[in-house]
Amino acid sequence: MCLAIPGKIITVTGEGSLSRMGQVDFGGIQKDVNLAYVPEAKVGDYVIVHVGFALSTVDESEANAVFEYLRQMDDLLELKEGGP
C-alpha cells in the first residue's frame, strides 16, 4: 500500500522544526522532501520516501542482510547434507 523509494539527502533546511525539508536525490532526479519525521537524518544519508515524506533512514549496515541470509541458508544446508 505504500510506494516508497530510497533516496540520498543532498541538502537540508529548516532545522529543528516540523517543516524540516531536504532535497533528496533518487538515481539522478531530485525532489523536495519533508524530513520532519527523520530528525536524525543528515546530508549523505539514505531515506525511504513516501508521498513527499521521509519515513525512515536506510540502515546501510543492514543493507546486505538479504544476501547474508541467503549465504547462511546455503551453509546450513551444506552442514545438514554433510558437506559439499
Binding site: 500500500m1 505504500c2 533518487f26 538515481g27 539522478g28 532526479i29 531530485q30 525532489k31
Partner: protein
C-alpha cells in the same frame, strides 16, 4: 534553450500593439493577414512554385505516396527538451518514415485560444521552423482559427504530411515473419517523464529531456544499406507496450521480449519508480522498433549505431508463432509475464 538556438529572431507581430491573440486574428481580415504574413510565411517560407493559393501545388516525384496526419495537444506547451511545435513536426515526419517514406511536405493547422500570448505563438512557430529544417521538410500550407477564451487551453496543432516511397518494400505489420528480430532504436521513457517533471503536482528536478526528434534519417540509412525491413513503428503514447501489442495483433503472432535488453536510463528508471509508472508504457517521441529478418539484425544495428539518434540501438526480442497474439516479457528472474496494452492514461500511484 536547445543548442543552436541561442539567437532567435524577435517576434515579428508588434507585441506592444498585440501582445495576445485576438478572435480577429482568425477572422480572415487584416489582422489575420498580418499574422499569416509576418509570422507564418516569414517562418515557413513562401509556398513553393505558384505563390499563395488555397492549396499548395507541388511537383510529385515517382513512387508511392505516403500520407499521414496527427494532432498535438500536449500540456504544458514547453517542456524540457522540446515543445508542442517541434513535436508536431517530428511526429508527422516520423509517421511517414515508419512506412518507409521520404518525408517531403507538411501542412500545419492551428487552433488558438483568444488571449494566447503572441510571444508564445512565435516561440512555437519558430520551433516548428527549426524542426522542419532539421527534418528536411517544408511546411507548405496551413490554417489558423481562433476560439473564444476558455475553450481552447492555449494552442492545438494538427499537421498532415506527404512523403514518397522510393523502394519496393512493403513496410507494415503484415510483412512481419516468424523468426524476425525486434530492434529498438534507443532508451525508453524520456519524453513521458520529461512531461511529468514539469507537470503541476508531480514536479521533480533533474536532467530528463524529451527525446522528440526526427527518425527519418535513420530509416533512410537502413534502406540505403539494403536492410529488408519488414515493419517499423514509432513509440508514442503507450510506449513500447502499445506499439508491440498493436503489431502482434496485426501480424497475428507472438512477440517475446527480453526485459534485460530494453534500455532505460537510470534517471528515467528512478522517475518511474518515484511515480509508480512502468517505463515500457511511458511515451517516447524519437524512438522506434524495427522488425527485420534475424540474419540482418547485426547489420541493421551497425547502421543505426553509427547515427546520432540510434547510438543506443539494440536487439530486444524476436517474433514467434502463437495464438492468441501476445507480447511476452521475460525478466531477469526468468519468469514471463504478458505485457498488456496500457489502458487509458497511466496514473502515478501511491501504493
Amino acid at each position: 534553450m536547445k543548442p543552436g538556438t541561442e539567437f532567435a529572431p524577435a517576434c515579428p507581430i508588434p507585441i506592444r500593439q498585440y501582445p495576445r491573440v485576438l478572435l480577429a486574428h482568425g477572422g480572415g481580415g487584416t489582422l489575420m493577414h498580418e499574422l499569416l504574413e509576418k509570422m507564418f510565411f516569414s517562418a515557413f517560407g513562401e509556398a513553393p512554385a505558384e505563390g499563395r493559393h488555397d492549396a499548395a501545388v507541388l511537383p510529385f516525384p515517382a513512387g508511392r505516396l505516403a500520407f499521414t496526419t496527427d494532432s498535438y495537444v500536449v500540456r504544458p506547451l514547453f517542456f524540457p527538451g522540446g515543445d508542442i511545435g517541434a513535436m508536431a513536426v517530428h511526429g508527422t515526419v516520423n509517421d511517414l518514415a515508419m512506412s518507409g517514406a521520404r518525408p517531403l511536405w507538411l501542412s500545419a493547422a492551428f487552433i488558438l485560444e483568444e488571449g494566447l500570448p503572441m510571444e508564445t505563438l512565435w516561440r512555437v512557430v519558430n520551433s516548428m521552423r527549426e524542426a522542419a529544417e532539421r527534418s528536411g521538410v517544408r511546411i507548405v500550407t496551413g490554417d489558423t482559427k481562433v476560439v473564444d477564451a476558455g475553450k481552447g487551453d492555449g494552442l492545438f496543432i494538427n499537421t498532415a504530411g506527404i512523403g514518397v516511397i522510393e523502394h519496393a518494400l512493403v513496410i507494415a505489420p503484415g510483412s512481419v515473419r516468424t523468426g524476425d528480430a525486434v530492434l529498438l532504436s534507443g532508451d525508453l521513457g524520456r519524453h513521458g517523464m520529461a512531461i511529468m517533471s514539469v507537470r503541476e503536482g508531480l514536479e521533480f528536478q533533474g536532467r530528463i529531456e524529451s527525446d522528440s526528434a526526427p527518425v527519418s534519417d535513420l530509416v533512410r540509412q537502413l534502406l540505403a544499406a539494403g536492410v529488408e525491413i519488414h515493419c517499423l513503428r514509432d513509440l508514442t503514447r503507450g510506449g513500447l507496450a502499445s506499439a508491440l501489442h498493436e503489431i502482434a495483433e496485426a501480424a497475428r503472432r507472438r512477440i517475446i521480449i527480453d526485459e534485460k535488453a530494453v534500455p532505460v536510463r537510470e534517471d528515467v528508471h528512478a522517475a518511474c519508480e518515484l511515480l509508480g509508472l512502468d517505463p515500457l508504457q511511458v511515451a517516447c517521441e524519437g524512438r522506434f522498433v524495427a522488425f527485420v529478418p534475424a540474419k540482418e539484425a547485426d547489420m541493421a544495428l551497425r547502421v543505426l549505431r553509427q547515427h546520432e539518434g540510434g547510438a543506443g540501438a539494440g536487439r530486444i526480442g524476436a517474433v514467434e508463432d502463437g495464438h492468441p497474439p501476445l507480447v511476452v516479457l521475460k525478466n531477469a528472474i526468468g519468469a514471463s509475464r504478458i505485457l498488456d496494452m496500457p489502458s487509458g492514461e497511466q496514473l502515478p500511484r501511491i501504493c
